[in-house]
Symmetry: C2
């Protein structure tokens, strides 16, 4: 990093499928000067999330698309190195929408995307702040508790179970009294990890197993709660095995995010009628007011060794694009984070 | 009808697509003799519902399939003509699972399908009991209120809007404060009827209109509540136009019931995530305990002229199969009932 220079990764063109080199452009600019009411933040870690890929598309979502020529939007953690506001002190560790860049100006208000950041408690591990206690862990929490309405005795299935959200979702299900927790993942290593280290009862390898048959075996009374991170064919298969009054918490649909057009359709949706099923989507940003309470509950589980987390750290801003692609190839374990 | 003889329509083979003559068989048997605790009911009217077609398939549903050689299962209204129990008096008008036959024995308990019937209040119009106050009207009520959670100001879209359930659903939405009620139907006559007589704000003719464009025009702020009777392509189109926190009440999927295999898939399900949408199915039998309260509320609306109903009466037991097919061709207006 050249002193006085900030690198920024810009969206040069909208990707089709996986992100390629030519879709992005790295630009070097002067480190910005914070104005009154603002602070300068040196970015330390970037949270690499599937949703970033959706923001690169020119499609309406829960946030507007990243504009062409704009810095790639991303959650991250940084340190305040210069401040013109009481809101931030020099040395504070802050979390917010840093974007893929070396420096960012934090404001005191305005749209969540570009401005105010959250000051993390002294002593917080920034990796944990971005994984188990970050939006991935919080999505697992609210998806399981609020949307999935987990109750004691539920048979729970989680897709993307080797990922940051899925691995947390399965463990939260167990903590909340699920009688059976089954994970669907794409490598033998992930399947071993969730069963041996995280306490899942069974794992299904969707690349090598007959998913329908294995799920039937693992969930003989059907699925009470399906926490879905992937969409597509796996969602369809799980729908077919939904138990009476089964719930599907739609957290993401990563299997489809690289598709240029609409995905292959869900064929088993009609089962929601005889099974009195419910399928509901959610966006974690809606729960911001409840983050502190959820985090303190989750922190107590982490301290008690009941909620384990794993980070997959990639080094260097220029590797952010390949880190994002890891989410889609599945060649990672746990939460993908870029360390700058 | 020959005295002492009861005709019964049996399922001879499982239909593929529309019901054809060879799928059914009419048999003549002696009028059965009620035992102790039972009553003999002369069937007067049959409620012709899409769900009957699903019971003819060899597929798990909310009730078991009609067995081959079994009487076609159906809701109906009849009159008690002989009784060996205090539960029914001679002359009582009763409603229950009469099946497609001239006479049925009503019991005092046991499985809902074959046994106990509900005694209708003296003076009840049997046609209204089977339409607006029957399972079609009640499905509209509970789907709109309990599953759809209609609130004042909602933009509501109803598919199958010219049918018994859809026409009631739209009117109930209006009564409950919807700011905009749009119906999707398959003939110009139905579209006129729901707008001119039932007070819908707009109608979309799915056979002749560009459904996407017309819905966008009729629901510029998106669909808050979609009450779906048809499934398939119309459900997919409405999903794409769901408003933030939109709800889809899945009442039926009549567009797919004649399909031999699984239906074409829903492609727009992912929108449930950014829109925080909910799609939920229900079966009216779950609400039996709440029928009396719902009926008295609906009765007050009928009396006040706020809830209109229309019956399409077909005469003769041997026309029951063609009456069932009417539901799929759409060549009917309102609730299809067979008068014996």
């Amino acid at each position: 990093m050249t002193p006085g220079i900030s690198r920024r990764v810009l969206l040069a063109q909208r990707p089709s499928g996986m992100v390629r080199e030519e879709d992005l452009r790295i630009e070097q600019v002067q480190v910005p000067e914070p104005g009154s009411g603002e602070a300068l933040v040196k970015v330390l870690y970037l949270s690499i999330d599937p949703t970033i890929r959706t923001w690169m598309n020119d499609a309406a979502g829960y946030l507007p698309p990243i504009p062409l020529g704009g810095v790639v939007r991303s959650l991250g953690v940084g340190r305040v190195i210069k401040t013109h506001t009481d809101r931030y002190n020099e040395g504070d560790l802050v979390m917010g929408m840093t974007g893929w860049q070396d420096y960012v100006v934090a404001g005191s208000g305005g749209p969540a995307e570009t401005s105010a950041m959250e000051v993390l408690q002294a002593g917080t591990d920034p990796l944990v702040a971005l994984s188990a206690l970050g939006i991935t862990g919080l999505a697992a929490y609210f998806g399981m508790v609020d949307i999935g309405r987990i109750v004691r005795g539920d048979t729970v299935v989680v897709s993307g179970a080797g990922g940051a959200t899925g691995s947390a979702a399965g463990q939260i299900a167990r903590i909340k009294g699920a009688s059976r927790v089954v994970g669907i993942a794409g490598t033998a290593e992930k399947c071993r990890w969730i069963c041996d280290d995280l306490g899942f009862d069974a794992a299904v390898n969707y690349r090598t197993d007959d998913v329908t048959a294995r799920l039937r075996e693992a969930c003989p009374d059907g699925i009470d709660l399906f926490f879905d991170n992937v969409g597509g064919a796996i969602l369809d298969t799980c729908l077919a095995q939904l138990a009476m009054r089964g719930r599907v918490a739609l957290c993401g649909a990563i299997s489809t995010y690289n598709d240029p057009g609409p995905p292959a359709g869900l064929r088993n949706y009609r089962i929601l009628i005889p099974r009195r099923g419910r399928m509901e989507g959610f966006i974690i940003l809606d729960y911001i007011d409840q983050f502190p309470d959820a985090r303190s509950e989750m922190m107590s589980w982490i301290d008690a060794g009941r909620l384990k987390h794993l980070e997959h750290v990639v080094h260097g801003l220029d590797h952010a694009p390949s880190a994002l692609n890891l989410l889609f190839t599945g060649d990672h374990n746990g939460k993908v984070i870029v360390e700058l």
